[in-house]
């Protein structure tokens, strides 16, 4: 906990001077009568690790989809590094520096882990269009990919087809793929989903180490409260699509509304 406290103090100073990296404003998504995301405002500063939590169906993944362009908002806007990215297609948003992982593991199962991260890194290479010079594009991408694998402690399975990795390693591989793209912001959708207790502990250790050393800005959807309190600087709590609390972990823990809706309830 001392770690998180020190990090919070550091980034508090940073945050005070910088404009938010991600600024979500009045973001709403309606599916007919169902309001999945309800007028959400959120600001994430550079270097911050923000957890988005809430009961099932609270709209967390939809919020991610809205930010990354997978889903178009009904109302509201998303600004990234000062630019309005609302309504841009998913691939264009990714090209601007937001990389994400998915709630249900999404990889290239027949490619090896090395090939997976290479393909991820290749996407950010401006020379990937050229008909010649493919070898150097591959080399650069493989370097970036291999570094990402190392960062996530996956060197030992680098040559194995991704479909054959353990579930825990697959979740980490997805994070490695996102990191291989050298993103400005990392969006992790339930990285410990489906992991056993041991796997979760290992994953959290790895994630904690790498988040700290890389100083990347991260948005994290998580169900597991221990994981959240271990990793996050700030927490945003969603309930039925709307923000009901927003602040440092201690404050959110103490919030009565949150306790009633989420922490105190069955989860």
């Amino acid at each position: 906990m001392a770690d998180a406290g020190a990090r919070q103090a550091d980034s508090a100073v940073e945050r005070a001077s910088a404009q938010p990296l991600i600024a979500v404003s009045g973001l709403t998504k309606r599916y007919g009568a169902l309001i999945a995301v309800d007028n959400v405002d959120m600001q994430v500063s550079s270097g911050e690790i923000r957890a988005v939590i809430g009961p099932n169906g609270a709209g967390k993944t939809t919020l991610f989809h809205l930010i990354t362009g997978v889903v178009k908002p009904t109302v509201g806007s998303v600004r990234f590094a000062g630019e309005d990215i609302t309504g841009l297609p998913a691939h264009a948003i990714c090209q601007r520096g937001l990389s994400r992982t998915f709630q249900l593991t999404s990889l290239f199962p027949e490619m090896t882990a090395r090939e997976n991260v290479r393909l991820a890194a290749q996407a950010r290479n401006p020379r990937r269009w050229m008909p010649f010079g493919g070898d150097s594009v591959f080399a650069d991408a493989q370097n970036a990919g291999d570094s990402a694998l190392e960062l996530l402690g996956l060197e030992h399975v680098a040559g194995r087809p991704a479909g054959l990795l353990s579930h825990g390693d697959q979740r980490l591989l997805e994070v490695a793929m996102a990191m291989a793209q050298d993103p400005k912001v990392l969006l992790l959708d339930e990285p410990t989903q489906g992991l056993s207790v041991e796997e979760t502990a290992q994953a959290v250790d790895t994630l904690s180490r790498f988040l700290e050393s890389s100083r990347v800005t991260a948005l994290l959807v998580e169900h597991d409260m221990e994981v959240v309190f271990r990793l996050a600087h700030k927490i945003t709590v969603l309930h039925r699509g709307a923000v009901i609390a927003d602040g440092p972990p201690e404050a959110v823990k103490a919030d009565a509304g949150v306790q009633q809706a989420y922490l105190g309830g069955i989860d």
């Binding site: 990354t68 997978v70 297609p89 998913a90 691939h91 264009a92 990714c94 090209q95 990389s99 994400r100 998915f102 999404s106 990889l107 290239f108 199962p109 027949e110 490619m111 090939e115 290479r118 393909l119 991820a120 290749q122 996407a123 950010r124 290479n125 990937r128 008909p131 493919g134 594009v137 591959f138 991408a141 793929m177 793209q181």
Partner: protein, 322 residues
Amino acid sequence: MRWSTVLGLAVLALLIAAPLGLPAFAMTLLTELVILGLFAMSLDLMVGYTRLISFGHVAAYGLGAYASGFMLLNSSMPLPFVVILAALMTGIVAIGVGWVCTLATGVSFSMLTLAFAQLLYAIAFKWTSVTGGSDGLAGIPRRAGPMGITLLTTKTGFYYFALACLVGSFLLCRKLVASPFGAVLRGIRENEAKTLALGYNTRLYKIAVVAIAYAFGGLAGALYAPFAGFANTELLFWLLSGQVLIMVIVGGSGTLIGPILGAAFFLLLEHQLSSYTEAWALFFGLVFIGFILFAPEGIWGLATGWFKRGDAAAKAKGSLHG
């Protein structure tokens, strides 16, 4: 894989030496195999490498054939030039086709490719002034090459030209699938959503591969017109789309070589069985279904798998100490 390079060079040597030893009817068959093999290989780019199932690839063949036939009949351009030009024209038209068809995915994509081929079929019937209607274009000459090189007017000369087109196309395609572009195609094949999420504009890649596949298919068609001497609506009939898809699957999709083998298998069956029974095409269809059910990797896939297991077994034996 070194054994495959050796094998490939050996086969190439045989193909180059073929006119010296084979009788005329066999050479005609071989030339047809080269053309059909090119046609099948072009479809593999879409089906095998990107998992874009096309039921309308005959559109590429027909476009190429009519384009080259028309140009050979109505102009004095040398044959190699006409053939390449026809292929390029097909590729350019295919950019539009790809743009439209990739508006949809999955089954809808396949249906759109079929619809386009049917559209072309209907146009070929109606636009008699250009296409000759149901009679088609006849008397297409095998014109001399540039600078009066008369080599191509002979059957052997033409065979070498077609072979050169096949080998050249094969090398280009192989380079393409091994390039970063090819890696993205593979990503689209395995998990398109993830490829998109990684920042690739997958639709553009799909349009590109359709255009390239149609260009090579058009090259095959463009070779067929002077080879057979005619171009007619049979070249746009949907059954041919089906047959070339069968060649790709039975031969082994995603390998470039497999489809060429599939074309060989198809032609062999056609010429061997058609003397016994008219039902060879039906038989071929049943073989197709059989392969999908029991051997989806195709003939080449089975062969390489067999070799790989042999390799692995040898390695395992040798590495007991490692």
